[in-house]
């Protein structure tokens, strides 16, 4: 089987009861979820109740640990099928999942840190984010009230974060300019100055862990590609990530230097897979933002794993059952 690139998303990808349709159905997923929830202790119990009851996740303290658990459990599901990650790309809280998948941190340390970090971020001044359909240089002149570019996702997508006042003023400026925007479901002013102090407070917790050099190519949204080994083991690099801009466009650009890999978005949504496609990568997402009945999540996972295990549908015969599963291909006829 060809190696795959795991793509790990951050906040904004979550939906109520995300991936719950796989729980108690997919053994590797279930075991990994139980392991993380148990490590989270009493917070894990609360999160399990929220998750299983299908309630909306409202705070960073809810979104980040549950997203971490789901993305970790989906990564373990991919490995359980015998697939080997040839590269791992993480953005936002997905970076801590990537740290586990590349051997930078043991799972227990990453779980402890995601909880410490989420609790600190939940106490930060209120804020949120918008996605704008334009490249960062086309957006910066419309930022108002202290809003900042939080993520450079590609030539057609920039995420802006800030206080509610800043976002309202920025929205008006964007509308006057005729730029399309939408709200991102992020319950904080992530990747901007609003959460800088909260991240600083978590530094001692990060310094209490030992970070190892990645054993698999690690692509970081914060680094905009592969961090140098000394940076990959620096606690401050990891602790300050939620306050640094996400350079997803640059990180996806560097993914090609690792090799021609099939990309698998191992999270609830499909945003990373869509951006990877724009970089010329072949990409599939395990759940594809499949907000729906549990059996739909199971079917979607089955189709996506078929794609990864069997390889490129175009190299298979046309009557292979899932031959027409939606592989996302780059625009303009490019291929890896």
């Amino acid at each position: 089987m060809p190696p795959v690139a795991l793509l790990l998303p951050g906040a904004g990808a979550q939906y109520p009861a995300m991936a719950y349709g796989l729980y108690r159905y997919e053994p590797a997923f279930t075991t990994a979820m139980d392991t993380v929830l148990e490590m989270l202790g009493s917070a894990g119990e609360r999160l399990y109740r929220l998750w299983s009851s299908g309630e909306r996740l409202r705070t960073v303290a809810e979104v980040h640990p549950l997203l971490f658990a789901v993305c970790h459990a989906l990564s373990e599901t991919v490995r359980d099928r015998g697939l080997r990650p040839g590269a791992v790309l993480g953005q936002s809280v997905g970076e801590l999942v990537a740290a586990v998948q590349t051997g930078v941190l043991p799972l227990s340390d990453a779980v402890r840190l995601v909880a410490v970090q989420a609790d600190a971020l939940a106490e930060a001044p209120a804020g949120g984010a918008l996605a704008v359909a334009a490249a960062p240089p086309a957006v910066t002149s419309f930022l108002r009230g202290g809003a900042v570019v939080a993520a450079s996702n590609g030539p057609g997508q920039t995420v802006v974060s800030g206080s509610e006042f800043a976002l309202a003023a920025t929205r008006r400026a964007l509308e006057v300019a005729g730029l399309t925007w939408m709200r991102v479901q992020v319950p904080a002013g992530l990747h901007g100055p609003l959460v800088a102090e909260a991240c600083r407070e978590t530094l001692p917790a990060f310094q209490a862990s030992v970070f190892a050099v990645p054993h698999t190519p690690l692509l970081s949204g914060t680094a905009g590609g592969r961090p140098e080994p000394e940076r990959a083991v620096d606690p401050e690099f990891w602790a300050l990530q939620p306050s640094r801009p996400v350079l997803l466009d640059a990180a996806l650009g560097q993914l090609a230097t690792v090799g021609a890999l099939l990309c698998a978005e191992v999270g609830p949504g499909h945003g990373l897979a869509v951006q990877a496609r724009r970089h010329g990568h072949r990409a599939v997402s395990l759940l594809d933002g499949c907000v729906g009945a549990p059996h739909e999540e199971r079917e979607r996972l089955r189709q996506a794993l078929d794609c990864l295990v069997l390889g490129d549908p175009e190299e298979r015969t046309a009557d292979t059952p899932s031959a027409r599963v939606a592989w996302l291909r780059p625009p303009g006829g490019g291929s890896v």
């Binding site: 359909a133 496609r277 594809d288 027409r324 939606a326 291909r329 780059p330 291929s335």
Partner: protein, 90 residues
């Protein structure tokens, strides 16, 4: 880009053209296939921001006012084309 060649109807081809101009053409997906019209946009490789760009262009180029909830309410090309047809008739 020119307006629709058949001004009386907004067709699937018009919609797919607006989508590809906003977000690129998803290869490996047969946009000529019969079931494209009932395939969820996300499986065609288009995210909600791409759909909002299309509704923005529908407003500017066709004068069509579609509700902001359209992205959630019209998950497939058929559903969106139905909403567009109603808006054009109104």
């Amino acid at each position: 880009m020119a307006m629709s060649e058949s001004p009386d109807r907004f067709t699937l081809a018009d919609l797919l053209r607006l989508l590809s101009e906003s977000a690129g053409i998803p290869e490996g997906i047969d946009l000529e296939a019969e079931d494209v019209v009932d395939t969820p946009f996300y499986r065609l490789g288009y995210d909600s921001l791409a759909l909002l760009q299309v509704t923005g262009r529908l407003k500017r180029e066709y004068g069509l006012l579609l509700p902001d909830t359209i992205v959630a309410d019209a998950p497939t090309p058929r559903a969106l084309l139905t909403v567009i047809a109603h808006a054009r008739a109104a």
